[in-house]
């Protein structure tokens, strides 16, 4: 409850600040348009205004203030513009009975989500396998771990087109290339967290199993795996957000046919800032939902295991 009030307050402040920021950000565009439409603007001429301070322009042309919140292609769209666009492309689409039309963010969100989930599953699987290998084999620990870190310093956006071309060449198209890129981003947090988790049992807990003469396999299922669960969930939450970014990056070079990435790109090509912002928010909302969902699963699983107080 306290949190809710705090969040709402912060949101209110941010939105107020956002509206205020629209003034300086959009004033030049608004004035140029107003001038073309015949209004009197001081000073005259877009070129003269180029190097002037935005605040001064706002003060000198106060008639234009309202227009900075309703521009067609603003530098910074106002909150309500983004909200309206989001509604038009989601809720309104559902009401019209075509939620899967290609102008609907539900459709594009689903395209991205499916690649995200597939990639997340692959990345998590790979990450867990690697972590198990690293924990059980010293060679893997010493040789793979440093390179896993290096792999994350490579800019994925440079690699993505190459991955896609290589996969094309072996006949793989569609959702899989995107999923692989998204797996590439999500496996790393899982490896790191899972290695930490599988190593979290202390010496005493391990020794206990030794006195029982338990096999490595029994040790894994009875001790290491359950002990790693809290760590696993923490990294899964990071991993799924990374997966979503991966799926979006993967959409850019595949012809940006559909998906939130395609909306971002399309918006960017045609200067549709409102469309970019709504796609951005849709992506962030999707990520937040996925993380929240994992949080719920985490709570249920840990509770069942008796690990949460």
């Amino acid at each position: 409850m306290k949190t809710l009030i705090a969040v709402l307050t912060v949101l209110a402040v941010i939105i107020a600040f956002w509206y205020a920021a629209c003034l300086p950000m959009n004033i030049k565009g608004v004035l140029t348009q107003a001038e073309r439409a015949g209004a009197e603007v001081v000073p005259v001429g877009a070129k003269e205004r180029r190097d002037l301070g935005e605040i001064g322009l706002v003060l000198g042309n106060q008639f234009a203030i309202a227009a900075t919140w309703s521009q067609d292609r603003p530098r910074l769209p106002a909150p309500h513009q983004v909200a309206v666009e989001l509604w038009k492309t989601t809720g309104a689409m559902v009401l019209k009975g075509k939620p899967m039309s290609k102008r609907s963010l539900i459709f594009h969100g689903w395209v991205t989500l499916s690649a995200t989930l597939l990639g997340f599953a692959m990345g998590t699987g790979l990450g867990i396998l690697l972590a198990v290998g690293i924990v059980h084999s010293k060679v893997m620990d010493m040789s793979v771990m440093p390179w896993a870190i290096v792999s994350q310093t490579i800019p994925i956006i440079a690699l993505a087109p190459m991955i896609i071309v290589v996969l094309y060449s072996v006949g793989v198209q569609g959702i899989l290339p995107k999923a692989i890129i998204s797996a590439y981003l999500s496996f790393f947090p899982v490896v790191v967290g899972m290695v930490k988790g599988l190593r979290s049992p202390d010496a005493m807990q391990l020794d206990l199993l030794r006195t029982y003469n338990a096999s490595a396999n029994q040790g894994f299922w009875a001790l290491r795996l359950p002990a790693s669960m809290p760590y696993l969930f923490t990294s899964l939450k990071i991993g799924i957000a990374a997966s979503l970014v991966g799926a979006i990056v993967g959409e850019l070079p595949t012809g940006a046919v559909a998906g939130l990435g395609a909306r971002l790109l399309g918006g960017s090509y045609y200067g549709q800032t409102v469309q970019i912002w709504s796609a951005l928010f849709a992506a962030a909302i999707l990520a937040a939902c996925l993380v929240a969902l994992l949080g719920v699963i985490e709570r249920v699983v840990l509770k069942r295991m008796g690990m949460s107080a």
């Binding site: 306290k2 010493m142 040789s143 310093t153 956006i157 440079a158 087109p161 979503l244 970019i276």
Partner: protein
Amino acid sequence: MMLVILAALVWCGGWWVNARLANGPQSDSRGVQLLVPVIFGVTLLLVWQLLVKGLQIPMVILPSPVDIAVAFGANLSKLWQDFLQTFVKGALSGYVMGCSAAFLMAIVMDRSDFLRRGLLPVGNFVAALPIVGTAPILVMWFGFDWHSKAAVVVVMVFFPVLVNTVAGLRETSAMQRDLMQTYAASYWQSFFKLRLPAALPFVFNGLKISTTLALVGAIVAEFFGSPTVGMGFRISTSVGKLSLDMVWAEIVVAALAGSMFYGAVAMVEKILTFWHPSQRG
């Protein structure tokens, strides 16, 4: 075909040597700990070279390590220029600004429970905005030169550092805080003598994550507009020219710079948090 078989042999050989080293008596010495990953990397490169040649993969798809090394050697000054533009001007300045801002913000949030409750969820939401969407916007706002790259980096590193620092500043045990209470220590006394040192391991966690984010962020931003220099610029234009060797040379620079940046921060961490169990080994 011969080469492919050879590649398999090299792989097994490299693995065998590493297995010997890692399970050998010297496995905990610094030398071996460096050698094993190096051998792994070299094996990987050899296998790559042999497979590319063996399967006759065209250079425009995947150049061999030798091709990449040649391109690297032939374009040193260009690579250096790109490195300066992207890493020093874009990534580093953005990193410093973003991390400092996040740190100051974390202190403010630490002092006000209300702000912390309100800002953390909103911050997590903002952190989920995909960079490929924010980068074009920031290029539009901050222009084509490194300023917009630094802005992208600021946005990317801000939240990991913020979240970790906030968590770190709350990491002290009740007993450690109570001790300060019995001394009737002021806020800043307990901040500098207790909370800050205790938070350092967390802060560095955020700082380390941010090193790779910073470089990747600066490069990605250059894809959406840049002057005619920079690692991201070079990568995106070289793909168009099918100079894949140049693309990979830049990727090598990125990996080197990123790893060294990470290593440098990790080293500072080792010095400053020598007392933490994870560093005592």
